[in-house]
């Protein structure tokens, strides 16, 4: 069984090598627009996105992000709005906050893939340094980057899997014996 959505999910990859070619502002906006429709716990929308295409800002963000191998043409920083989360009575480490970071990121990755862009996430960065570079207000915490650009023809070998992964190996049918 397949369809365009399933095919897009199957063929998406983390892109860790990007060309220097810029992406169109309209493409970046399309990715952000898609993220607006990402699932959000309780429809609370506790996240804010910081989008940048400025070359100097991109360079500085890469400098403080040890996990960023690519040189992106644009970055969307997914932030948790901690002040807003607190207003809902949520604890700072409530799992919903981080799950929603993931749903927003995956939605952006798929949107980028559908547009023919390369995209990859980065979480290995200094939140303090990123906050300083972007002058992020105190109520927001940067949690994940979605790096966007055009995929380079040659990609670094990905992280090796620890054994074969299939949907069957990931799934337990019904109750554990």
């Amino acid at each position: 069984m397949t369809n365009p959505v399933l095919e897009a999910i199957r063929t998406r990859r983390m892109t860790r090598a990007l060309t220097g070619e810029p992406i169109a502002r309209a493409e970046l906006e399309a990715v952000l627009k898609a993220a607006r429709w990402a699932p959000s716990a309780g429809n609370r929308r506790l996240h804010r996105f910081i989008a940048t295409q400025d070359p100097t800002t991109l360079k500085l963000l890469r400098m403080v992000s040890p996990g960023m191998f690519q040189r992106p043409a644009a970055i969307v920083v997914i932030c948790i709005d901690r002040a807003k989360a607190e207003s809902f009575g949520m604890r700072p480490n409530a799992k919903g906050l981080y799950i929603d970071v993931g749903t927003a990121a995956q939605t952006m990755l798929l949107a980028a893939h559908s547009l023919g862009l390369g995209a990859g996430v980065v979480t290995s960065f200094s939140q303090a340094a990123v906050s300083a570079v972007l002058n992020v207000p105190g109520g927001l915490s940067p949690e994940m980057f979605v790096c966007l650009g055009h995929a380079a023809p040659t990609q670094p070998r990905g992280m090796p899997s620890r054994g074969p992964v299939t949907w069957q190996t990931l799934t337990q049918w019904e109750r554990f014996p």
């Binding site: 860790r16 400098m63 403080v64 992000s65 040890p66 996990g67 191998f69 290995s124 960065f125 200094s126 303090a128 340094a129 670094p156 070998r157 990905g158 992280m159 090796p160 899997s161 620890r162």
Partner: protein, 107 residues
């Protein structure tokens, strides 16, 4: 050999920033990322200086130092990973001995 600058201020700052922020991110990340980050730092430094060093050092930086894939970590093949690191370290030792003339000294 006369001292010469192989990094400008912007490049040096990039490396300082990488090392300092990696020290912080490593607190929360898998232990095996420690080696990964150090190798990434070495690789970035190598890329920055490659055009401004001696041909012999350039050969080392673009050859043996690049043998370990960018995203390699220990878990998938612990013995193979250590073997690869040992090979690079051996190449480091060889190059140092040559670069500093140790191999020319009479014992």
């Amino acid at each position: 050999m006369a001292a010469k600058m192989v990094l400008n201020e912007d490049e040096a700052l990039e490396l300082v920033a990488f090392l300092v922020t990696a020290a912080r991110t490593q607190v929360d990340e898998a232990a095996e990322y420690g080696s990964l980050r150090l190798l990434t730092a070495a690789s970035r430094l190598a890329e920055l200086i490659a055009e401004r060093v001696s041909p012999e050092t350039r050969t080392f930086l673009t050859g043996p130092l690049k043998q370990i894939p960018d995203l390699a970590v220990r878990t998938a093949d612990p013995a193979g990973y250590v073997k690869s690191l040992d090979a690079v370290c051996h190449a480091v030792g060889e190059h140092l001995a040559t670069h500093f003339g140790l191999d020319q000294k009479k014992s």
